[in-house]
Amino acid sequence: MGQLSSSRLEGLVASMIVLDNVSLRAGAFRLEGIHLLVPAGEYGILMGKTGAGKTSLLEAIIGFQPVVAGSICLAGRDVTQLNPAVRGIGYLPQDGALFSTLTVEENLAFALKIRRVDKKRIASRVRDLAELMGIGQLLKRQTHGLSGGERQRVALGRAMAFEPRILCLDEPLSALDSETREQILQLLMTIKRMNKVTILHVTHNLGEAKLLADKIFRLVNGKIDVSDIVGNCRTSSDIMEATERGPQTVRYM
C-alpha cells in the first residue's frame, strides 16, 4: 500500500478518484507506480498512445483488472479489494455493449431492477434519462438496428441510471462518424455542466480532450503527466478539431 502524507491526504478527501502508487500487470504488459487524482465534479481525460495502458488503468478503477500494488480510492473509500459491482461506477465501453436481448427501456432500467427499486421510481427515472439522452422515442425498440450514436446514448443512459458519482468512459466517441460525434460531445458537455458526476474519459483525440477536460492525464512510458485546463479554450475551432480530426491526433502525441 502506498503511504499518504497528511498534507496530501487533505487534498484527497475532496477528490473522487484517487490512484495511489498503483501497479498493474496484464501478461507481458505492466504499469508501475501510477498516481492519478480527479477532484469531485471534475472532468478528467486520460490520454495515451494505443497500447500505453489507458484501458487497463480504467479497468483497474472499475475493478476488472487486478491491482498488484498500491490503492484505489473512490469518494473517500478504499475500493482496491472491492468487487466491481459495489464500486458505484457508471461504465461506458467503446462499443456501448448494449444488452441485445433487452429493449432500450429495459437496458436503461437494468441497474435499477438489480437494486430492486420500485416500479414507479424506475419508470420516472427511465423517463428522465430518456429525456436527458434524447432517446424518448426509442424506448420500446430492440437494440439491434439502432445507429452508432443512438447506441452510445442508450449505453450512457444505462450507465447513469443508478446515479453513480463516477462515470468511466472508454473512448466513447471513437467509433462514431463526425456528425454523431459532435452530438454526443454536446451531450457529454451537458452532463459535465450538470456537475453531478466526476468523469474519467479515455481517448486519444486531443480535440476532444481540450473541449471537455478540466484535467488531462497523459500516460507516457508508464508515467502520468498532468495538465490543468485553465480558462476558456473552448472555441468553435476546438469543436471543429474535436469533431473533424478524429483519431489522426494520435500522431501529435
Binding site: S100, A111, I114, G145, R158
Partner: protein, 301 residues
Amino acid sequence: MSDSIDSADRQDDFAKRNNWIARSNRWFATSFVLIGSTYLVLILGMLLADVAFVLDQSVSKAKNASSFWGSMLADNPISVSLRDPKIQYSIWLSMISCTLAAILSVVFAVPLGYVLSRIPFRGRNLVDAFLDIPIVLPPLIVGLSLLILFQFAPFRWVARSIVYQVPAVILAQWAVSCAYAVRTMKMTFDQIDPRCEQVAISLGCSRFQAFSLVTFPEAKLGLLTAFTLAWARSLGEFGPLLIFAGATRMKTEVLSTSVFLEMNVGNIEGAVAVSLLMIAMSIAVMIITRWASYRPADWKA
C-alpha cells in the same frame, strides 16, 4: 519503357495476358464446381437409392395384391416396420434416450463451455483438446472403455442396473454427444461480447446475475443448436451402444441397433425402412436448427 515490369504497358502482351486470365478463371470455376458437386451427387444418390429401393419393394409386392394402392399403403416396408412392436419399442426408446442424452449434454455443456470461453486458467488449451477425445476416439473404444470403467468402484456398485440396461444406452449416447454440445456452447459464448457481462457487473450484478440476465439469454440460440446436435448425434450412436448396452430386442434396442439386427437376420427391406425413418428424423432436426438460427434481425427488410 522496354524494361517495364507490368505488361499492361505493352499492347500485345496486354491482350494475350487478358485472354489467359479469362481462360484460367473459367477453368478454376468449372473444376471447383465439378469436384464439389461430385460429393453433393453422392449424398443425394445415397438418399434416393434408399427411397428407390423401398418403392421398388412396395411396387413388386403390390402388383400381386388385389388392391394396388391399398397394398402400396399397407405393405410397404416402412408400414410393415411401423407395425412391428419391436420397431415400435425401438422408436420409443430412441426418442426417450436421445432426448435425455441431449438434455444431459446441454446441462454439462453450458458450464463447461462457459468456463472454457471466459475464464483463463493454466492448462485451458489442454482441457480444450481433452474434450475432443470422445469425438476422435473410435466409437467401439468408447463403448469398451465405458464397460471397463464399470468394473471399478464406485461404478461397479451400480453396474448391475446400468450395464446392458436402458441407462447404458443413455450414458453411451451422452458420453459422445456431450463433447459436441460443449464445442457448440464454447463457440456460442466465444461469440458473445464479454463486455456486456462486464457492464452488467459494473451496474451491480453478481457474476451469476450477469450470466443469467445477460449472457445466457443471448446464448439461447446456441443452446438450441447444441441440443439438436447432441440429439442427432445420439440418434446415430451405435458402436458404444453395441458393446456397453448390448443389442437386446425390446430392451436396449434403439433405431441404429434395429438396422443392425434387421441386417443380421437378412431383412434388408426392414433395415432400409428403419434407415429411412432415421433419415427423416435427422433431416427434421436439421431443418428445425436451421430455421431457429434465423434471428428476427435477419428477417427485417
